[in-house]
Symmetry: C2
Subunit: 147 residues, 2 copies
Amino acid sequence: MKKLNVEEAMKIFYQKCEERGLKITPQRVFIYQELLQATDHPSIDEIYQRVKDSLPNISFDTVYRTAFSLTEMKLVDIVEGHSGSRRFDANTGPHHHFRCLKCHKIIDFDSDYYDKVIIPEELQRKFNIVAKKIMLEGFCEECSQIE
Amino acid sequence: MKKLNVEEAMKIFYQKCEERGLKITPQRVFIYQELLQATDHPSIDEIYQRVKDSLPNISFDTVYRTAFSLTEMKLVDIVEGHSGSRRFDANTGPHHHFRCLKCHKIIDFDSDYYDKVIIPEELQRKFNIVAKKIMLEGFCEECSQIE
DNA sequence: TTACTATATAATAATTATTACTATTTGTCA
DNA sequence: TGACAAATAGTAATAATTATTATATAGTAA
Ligand SMILES: [Mn+2]
Ligand SMILES: [Mn+2]
Ligand SMILES: [Zn+2]
Ligand SMILES: [Zn+2]
């Protein structure tokens, strides 16, 4: 893993906040720093619990709003739980998905090329892998037009 | 998309139910059939709403339990919302994820090979794609041992 | 067919996660 | 140093997930 440079990341954070007229508050700084040092992809509540060590009065709502503004600033990614609720698929055959980040549609597509993408040897050894999933994200035809 | 053969799928469904000693109830049949014909990766609640047309007295709980038993039978996949809560990642650099289906840890890994996986031309044209995400699923080192 | 029994169900409650609201506080800048 | 837009804490509301329990039913064997 390319070691995440916290100094550099914070510099970009300050820049982006300024660009967007977002105030530099201790809450915002601590939340982003906590996320920068986390390697376990925490939930809002986990971030909240951790930041409370430094800022005992911080509210859940602040962590919630901040996580989302960081996402909008493209400083953090969501790796799970985009759309709120769990979604099911009875098509267990080989196919792949595109997710619209606006309307949360998940659209199937075929790709021989993606079907053939392999699972690296060293990961096979390390984990007991049962599935490989490729997801493209962006804006669907309708949502692209509106924007 | 390889056209999903409902006949064939139902045959396998009956087989698997029998194997596991699961009773063939109208609820189970309707729920699976509804999922088989859906192409939009519905949530539990969406499945519930749709199945109500055929079985007005069905309960949400039944849909919930059935969706999970179908998942365990590997007749349906979860395509979103594995772990319940939303998870964040401040590492926006190129890297990939492994998800443990048991303990829900999401573990980073590097792969030059996966970094180089491209986005098919025709999808680029169709959608406004901003990200490509590869997720491997299975059981982590600890969870593999216990099993 | 009928009676039995383990499993599944409906109805509902409990829990957990997400999002919204508002009075007060604070960072920014003139 | 004010003025004031933006952010925050505290809390409420909503939505999603999971658990509970009394009743009903599918499957089986007499
Ligand atoms: Mn699909
Ligand atoms: Mn990551
Ligand atoms: Zn869309
Ligand atoms: Zn695990």
